[in-house]
Symmetry: C2
Subunit: 278 residues, 2 copies
C-alpha cells in the first residue's frame, strides 16, 4: 500500500470533520479556487457531501438549492446540515456555511436546503433527449487561458458550441453552450461531483453580450435524476453539459442546464440566477 | 367607506400577524384548499408576503425556493422569515413554516430560502421570447370539474394546449402545457400573486402518461424577472403560463415553467421537482 498517494483534489476539497451531529469543519483548497473565493460548484458539492456523511441521511439526493450569500474566504469554515423533517421516504434538510469574519464573529456565507429520498423503480420518460452530438473524443480538449482560475484546471472540457468568446466585440446573439466535461484527474462520478459539474458553465451574459462584465451566481438549484448506481456506472467518462440563458435584465439573468452521460441518461438538471453588472 | 367589503381571497389567505421580528402567525383558508392541504402556490406566496412585510426587507424578490416537507394542516401556522445576511444590494433569507402536530408539538411543514435585491436598470435580453399565441379572449374559460379542489376556482384559466386529459388512456406523448391565467376575482399582479401562479400547472406526469397517479410537489424555485412596477403595470390582465416536464423516473420528475404578460415581458421563470407514484 502506497501511503504517500495524494487524495483526488475533489476528495481533498470535500474533506469534512464532524464536530457534532450535523456540524462539520471543512476548509477551502487552492485546487478549486476561483477569483475571490472557492468555485461555487465545490461549495455546493461540499453541502451534498455533508448530507451523505450524516448518520441519519435517508436515501439519496433529489434536490439541492444553494444560495451564495458571500464569498467563502480562504481557510476553515463550519458547515451545518440538519435533517429538519424525516418522512417515510423523503427527508428535508437545511444547510448553512459560516466563517469567522475579520473581527472573529461567525457570519453566514452560504445557505441552502435539500431533499433526499428513497427512490423506487417507476415508469420513466425523457422529454429532454440528449442532443445528437459527436462523441467527446472527436473534440480537442479546450486550451486553458493562462489567467484561468485554478478550478478550471480541475476539469477536462471539450467545447462543442458556445465557447468562451475570443473577441469581446458585442456581437453575441445566443446563450447556448454545450461541452463534454469530466474531472481532469479521473474519478468515478458521484452525487458530489455531478453537483460540482452543474456549475461548470461560464456566465451566460458573457456569451450573450460578447462583453466581459462582472457576474456571480446568487442561487443555484440542482435536481438529481440519476441514482448512485447510474452515477457509478458512468465512471469517469465525459458528461454532456448544456446551458442556456433565459431572461437577462435589471442586473440578473437565469440559466437552465442539463447533464447527460454518453448513453443519454439524464443525470441532473439545474438552474441558477446570476448577478451581472451594468 | 364600505367596511363590509370582503378582502380579495388572495389577500385573505396572505394575511399575517407579526408576533416577533420575522415571526408571523397565519392560517389556511378554504378558498385555496387543495386535496390534503393548501395549494402549494399559496404557501409559497405567503412566504414571499412575509419577506415583503418584514421591516428590514432590502429591495425586491429575486429568487425563492420552497420545500414542501409535509402538508400544512387546516388552521393556524407560524411562519419565520429571517434575513440571515444583508449585503450592499442583496439580502439572503431563510424561511420556515411550523405547525402544532396532534400531540401539540411544533413540527416543520415547510422550509425555504429567498434572495431579495435592489435592482438597477441594465442591459437586457430575452432568450425565451413569448410563443406566438392568440390573445386570451379568443379562448373559452376552462370548465371546472365538479370535483376540482377549491383553489382552482380562484383562477380563470384558458387552456391553449396540453389541457387536463379527458380520457386517461395512456396515450400521452408530450408534457407541454400553455394557458392564459389570472385571478378569477380581478386583482393587480404583485410578487405574491405571480409566485402563486408559478405553481398553477397540474402534474406533468398526468399529461405525459395520460394516467392519473398520486403526485405532489416536493420543491419549487421561482426566479423573479419583473420589478414591482412591471407587475403592477400588468394589472389584472391574463398571464401566459407555460410548463414542460424534463425527466421522469424513479418516483420523481422535474418541470420548467415560464410566465409572460401579454406584452411579452418575462415575469418569472420557475422549476419544480415532483413526487409521483409507480
Amino acid at each position: 500500500m502506497n501511503t504517500t498517494t495524494a487524495p483526488h483534489p475533489l476528495d481533498d476539497a470535500l474533506a469534512l470533520t464532524a464536530l457534532a451531529p450535523g456540524q462539520y469543519q471543512g476548509r477551502t483548497t487552492e485546487a478549486y479556487w476561483n477569483m475571490v473565493g472557492p468555485y461555487g460548484g465545490i461549495t455546493a458539492a461540499t453541502l451534498v457531501q455533508a448530507i451523505l456523511q450524516h448518520p441519519e441521511c435517508l436515501g439519496e439526493p433529489i434536490s439541492l438549492t444553494v444560495n451564495y450569500a458571500a464569498a467563502v474566504g480562504a481557510g476553515p469554515f463550519t458547515l451545518q446540515a440538519t435533517p429538519v423533517r424525516t418522512n417515510r421516504s423523503t427527508q428535508h434538510w437545511t444547510l448553512s456555511i459560516e466563517q469567522a469574519d475579520a473581527s472573529g464573529a461567525l457570519v453566514v456565507t452560504t445557505t441552502g436546503t435539500a431533499v433526499t429520498a428513497v427512490r423506487r423503480d417507476t415508469w420513466s420518460a425523457c422529454d429532454i433527449p440528449m442532443p445528437a452530438v459527436p462523441p467527446a473524443q472527436q473534440f480537442e480538449r479546450a486550451m486553458l487561458h493562462a489567467a484561468a482560475p485554478q478550478w478550471i484546471h480541475r476539469y477536462e472540457m471539450r467545447m462543442l458550441e458556445g465557447g468562451l468568446p475570443t473577441r469581446w466585440d458585442g456581437s453575441g446573439d445566443g446563450s447556448l453552450s454545450r461541452l463534454w466535461v469530466r474531472d481532469a484527474e479521473p474519478r468515478a462520478l458521484d452525487f458530489a461531483s455531478i453537483t460540482a459539474m452543474a456549475d461548470v458553465f461560464f456566465p451566460r451574459v458573457w456569451l450573450r453580450r460578447t462583453t466581459h462584465v462582472p457576474a456571480g451566481t446568487v442561487s443555484m438549484t440542482v435536481y438529481f435524476h440519476a441514482t448512485s448506481a447510474q452515477l457509478q456506472a458512468t465512471g469517469s467518462a465525459p458528461v454532456l453539459a448544456q446551458a442556456r440563458g433565459q431572461q437577462f435584465g435589471n442586473g440578473f439573468f437565469d440559466q437552465t442546464a442539463q447533464l447527460w452521460n454518453a448513453d443519454g441518461v439524464v443525470l441532473a438538471t439545474s438552474h441558477q440566477i446570476v448577478y451581472f453588472k451594468e
